[in-house]
């Protein structure tokens, strides 16, 4: 069995249009996951009545049911209620809801870790609850839980392949569709695996860069980074003598 490089070169443009769709869906889904997740995390941390319970139900529901079921429900189930969405819209909504549930858990780790003393120091300066949320809890919580969120973001990209099932013309769909004609099965699958790998590596690299940018403690001479304890991280007890 020989590897048909020429075939790969020929189909590459086709796969790249699929990759574009994968990127399109992923970027929007990661963005929405971030917004939903941070909103959910803040609601949970502030223990806002009713909303907080709703977030718990939402997160539990999404995390304990298969993504494929969400996709089918949105695509085949919703029309029964008179709501008909395009496959791409379903892809973005399903992935955003899925990523949002995981991100809510990721970010909650961060928003809960914001020391109460900092919230009080905001209060004592006269900041309103919303100002404390937007200027203290979100920026700090985001920094603390960003590494966890980047894992969720990577999963969102990988899970975009599920959208093949409803015919979204993303990378996996393009490959599988082509395979049915050409029977170059393993060339095709190996190729998209490599493309996914590069995509995920690229994303991880990008998120790593952002992480370093966000790490205000890396700007210290000690460079203790975001790996220390929360207290150390915040420099709350850092007493350097110089």
């Amino acid at each position: 069995m020989s590897f048909d490089f020429g075939y790969i070169i020929d189909t590459l443009p086709l796969l790249l249009t699929g990759l574009k769709m994968t990127l399109f869906i992923s970027v929007f889904s990661i963005l929405f996951s971030l917004i939903i997740g941070m909103g959910g995390a803040v609601i949970r941390t502030l223990k806002i009545p009713v909303l907080s319970q709703l977030v718990v139900v939402y997160v539990d529901l999404i995390r304990n049911t298969p993504l494929l079921v969400h996709v089918f429900f949105l695509y085949f189930g919703l029309p029964a209620f008179g709501i008909k969405l395009s496959a791409v819209a379903v892809g973005i909504i399903a992935l955003s809801l899925w990523g949002g549930a995981f991100a809510a858990e990721n970010f909650r780790g961060g928003t809960d870790a914001v020391p109460h003393a900092l919230i009080e120091s905001g209060q004592s300066l006269g900041l309103s609850t919303w100002q404390i949320v937007s200027h203290v809890i979100i920026p700090l919580g985001f920094r603390i839980s960003f590494p966890a969120f980047s894992n969720t973001a990577v999963s969102v990209i990988k899970n975009s392949a599920y959208m093949t099932s409803i015919g979204v013309a993303e990378l996996t769909f393009m490959a599988v569709d082509r395979m049915a004609y050409d029977f170059k099965t393993y060339e095709m699958l190996l190729t998209i695996a490599v493309i996914y790998l590069i995509l995920i590596w690229g994303t991880s690299y990008l998120f790593g860069r952002i992480e370093r940018k966000l790490d205000f403690n890396n700007k210290t001479k000690k460079g203790s980074g975001l790996n220390g304890s929360v207290i150390k991280k915040f420099g709350l007890s850092s007493r350097r003598t110089d």
Partner: protein, 246 residues
């Protein structure tokens, strides 16, 4: 002579945590430009008192007035009051994701809606006053504890508060850093800042205080000028405390 009105008036203040009564009716009048130093054993309710004045704790009885105006313990009323009563904590609590100057600008711009062009010169002047203008663009983690605490004081001052509350602001510091912070507070006192200072630094309290209040078990046991409370305490409990503290 015209009767002097207190800037801050604490009347029969009571506070409980569950069944645990922490403040059992505390009365204090703080006059403009007065420096009051509160001393007392651990657990006597000093921090709780300051936190009640600032509305970080709700109260179970009594009233607090600022300029004859009764403080209501509702979120929006407290936001107003906190602009007039600043507080500095033992653990500095600077916002770690903001630079020193950003720490100073946040509340005046967001809470008081002042223009950056107006706040910035004042913020820089205050940093100069506490000797840290060169650290304006550093992050808190890049500063020593003493430096962070001086920034925290400047951060309170930039709000132009009428009264400043200090809760053991030197207790978390290395001994060699304590001096710098105390010097800043002495400087404030000499500028006529109205302050309520909880401290374990007896020498400093004696120097800087116009009036010393000794608290124990949620009540004021004794108060008076520093010469009296430190030099010739009238109450046995005060004498005992000072013997152990000195």
């Amino acid at each position: 002579m015209e009767e002097r009105k207190p800037k801050l008036s604490i009347r029969n203040l009571q506070k409980q945590f569950g069944d645990n009564t922490i403040l059992r009716g505390v009365d204090i009048d703080v006059y403009s430009q007065e420096v009051i130093v509160i001393i007392g054993p651990s657990g006597s309710g000093k921090s709780t008192l300051l936190r009640c004045i600032n509305g970080l704790e709700s109260i179970n009885g009594g009233e607090v007035y600022i300029d004859d105006c009764k403080i209501e313990y509702t979120p929006s009323a407290l936001q107003q009051v906190r602009q007039r009563i600043g507080m500095v904590f033992q653990s500095y609590n600077l916002f770690p994701h903001l630079t020193v100057i950003e720490n100073l600008l946040l509340a005046p711009m967001k809470v008081q809606k002042r223009a950056k062009s107006e706040v910035l010169p004042q913020a820089r002047e205050l940093l100069e006053q506490v000797g840290l203008l060169d650290k304006a663009d550093s992050y808190p983690a890049q500063l020593s504890g003493g430096q962070q605490q001086r920034v925290a004081i400047a951060r309170s001052l930039v709000m132009n508060p009428e009264v400043l509350l200090f809760d053991e602001v030197t207790s978390a510091l290395d001994p060699e850093r304590v001096r710098d912070v105390l010097d800043v507070m002495k400087d404030l006192a000499s500028r006529g800042t109205t302050m309520l200072i909880v401290t374990h630094e007896m020498g400093f309290g004696r120097d800087v205080g116009d009036r010393i209040i000794f608290m124990d078990q949620g009540v004021i046991v004794e108060q008076g000028p520093p010469e009296v409370v430190f030099g010739n305490p009238q109450e046995e409990r005060t004498r005992q405390f000072l013997r152990n503290a000195m």
